[in-house]
Symmetry: C2
Amino acid sequence: MTWLDLPDGTGFGPDNLPYGVFSTRGTSPRTGVAIGDLVLDLHAVTGDDVHATGSLNGFMVRGPEAWQALRRDLTTWLTDAAHQARVQPHLVPRSEVTMHLPVLVADYVDFYSSRHHAENLGRMFRPDSEPLTPNWRHLPIGYHGRAGTVQVSGTPVVRPCGQRKAPTEEAPTFGPSQRLDIEAEVGFVVGAPSELGTPVPLGAFERHVFGVCLVNDWSARDLQAWEYVPLGPFLGKSFLTSVSPWVVPLAALEAARVQPPARDVPLLPYLDDTGTGPWGLDIAIEVRLGGQLVSCPPFAGMYWTPAQQLAHMTVNGAGLRTGDLFASGTVSGAEADQRGSLVELSWGGQEPLSLADGTSRTFLEDGDVVTLTATAPGTGGGRISLGEVTGRVEPAR
Amino acid sequence: MTWLDLPDGTGFGPDNLPYGVFSTRGTSPRTGVAIGDLVLDLHAVTGDDVHATGSLNGFMVRGPEAWQALRRDLTTWLTDAAHQARVQPHLVPRSEVTMHLPVLVADYVDFYSSRHHAENLGRMFRPDSEPLTPNWRHLPIGYHGRAGTVQVSGTPVVRPCGQRKAPTEEAPTFGPSQRLDIEAEVGFVVGAPSELGTPVPLGAFERHVFGVCLVNDWSARDLQAWEYVPLGPFLGKSFLTSVSPWVVPLAALEAARVQPPARDVPLLPYLDDTGTGPWGLDIAIEVRLGGQLVSCPPFAGMYWTPAQQLAHMTVNGAGLRTGDLFASGTVSGAEADQRGSLVELSWGGQEPLSLADGTSRTFLEDGDVVTLTATAPGTGGGRISLGEVTGRVEPAR
């Protein structure tokens, strides 16, 4: 299928072709496409200066026809041997590149769309109420996060300081978070903007969303618990959100589309996706702590799809900008080993995780490294990779 | 004090000198400074291309020394008659200019720092609990809003649609908001960025904040009430936030600085401003509905100052970017005619406001025009103006 000699099961075959922003020693950041263990220098191979701007935004704003055209070209260039002589000089080993934040993030929205995650948190934190709030089945709950602290994979996770108050304490105290956590999520990158005042219906999802990345929405549970009533999470989240460097085009996930779970209640028309193609996605996430696999959250089971999230987010007329990022919320499955956060995996810190090195964890310790990876069915019959997002916890400053 | 013939009580004398982005017919947006009824074309008079970029961001990122230097120059040019011949050709009547959004907004944060506002909302919506949540006196509660829908004064306010559910209803319904409201606020524009991982202490407020504007954070109370538990306001706010076009430099507010109200509880050291200069600000806001004055919210009484808001917002290591906007939250005073939102002025819709035209209002009707203006003591002995932010409600689409 390609004139390149790709490693077996690479996940970065010609049916993936994710976009990222890379540099090599002494060069400035530019756009590349991952193929096998290589990066194709898109600026060099196309001569189009939009790929030398240091982010994908300039290309994304051109819209879905431009995305499709370039993907067609890339497929031809990498599969038809007639292009080998011209293309090969612009391939760089991925081991030699530094990856950068791929997108200038405009607005960042985080949803809460895993029913298992919402139920787990409800059971832990509001044990006397129904686990789901009354609105949960009727709309994809979400909130705005801090776009300025979205960073690329590998950015150190400096343990945040802040206020927290245990129920037994009279007054809050200040210090490094004692309940530093992860949230394994999938993020969706908006490429084509929309006009203020005009909602984006379910059927227009593909015309606005450019691609998909992995997101670790680092969370300080103790800060969050004290601050979040009544206006929601703030400092417990805003210190860092890490994203994977390769943005997988939506077109590469065509074979991963699945029906979302059956819904409990009738949905209002703007959220009712029974008449449109399904936008559940069979993305299998793996969470590793210190190299050890600790969870396998299945994105396919998410109650709300990204198309529903986008329709909801804009139904009040809110406009989209190129570079908007919206994430799914923590992906948790029904099983204990499918939970996408430590607060769930350790059940609020009451059931520590045993690690292979003989230690155990409730929340993250300084020096811990957490890595999320994911794969999905590709159109070529195998599985494509969404790459990874990783971070190492550093002590509070 | 100036060679210009300024109107009496202009509010835009040489002790104000706010920055904005303007255009005249057939020209592109550039930076100007308001003086009396005129605008000084900063690009033309300085020849500095940073003032032709269509936003203040390029100038703001240069930092506080650059801000001070230009303000000194402007003061000299506009007060020393030796500069008249050179400067006068670059003055344009304000009646001939179109104003644009002055700042490319990076992140938008909205606080909740008026005790009277928080207590009023607590009494209305949680009548069986203490009006203030337990955290309120210990930290300035805030949340991230949608930066992409911050627009300049005059942008039409299209009535948003969305889900709402009355307590008596079984399921939510969809439609135009029936409780469209205003929030009279003061906004602070970050000029100089900060590094990820490094908090900005109280004493560094002036080194990062460039200036001040007025903010109307339009709110759909019915959408908000249904969606906001547990992650905070989202679509009830994200359809539009309007800002005044003139950003008043912090230096122009030196004479407006006042002590904030006495605090009820000891503050953690990072919020304790007893040792630093006070950053309460004596800004007097006026709210007009259809031209009629309906409220006079006093900013001087805000419990949390903008310096405390900034220190809190960054204490977890969150970095600042040039163009970050943080707003105070609704400004409400102790008296009934000092409330900064209609939900307070009409006490949840139970006590309609009588207007001079014989009509009454609980929430906004299509066609209503709301205008916020404000003044503060200037260093010249009079009062300086913060300009105005206005918007007209259009029917839902």
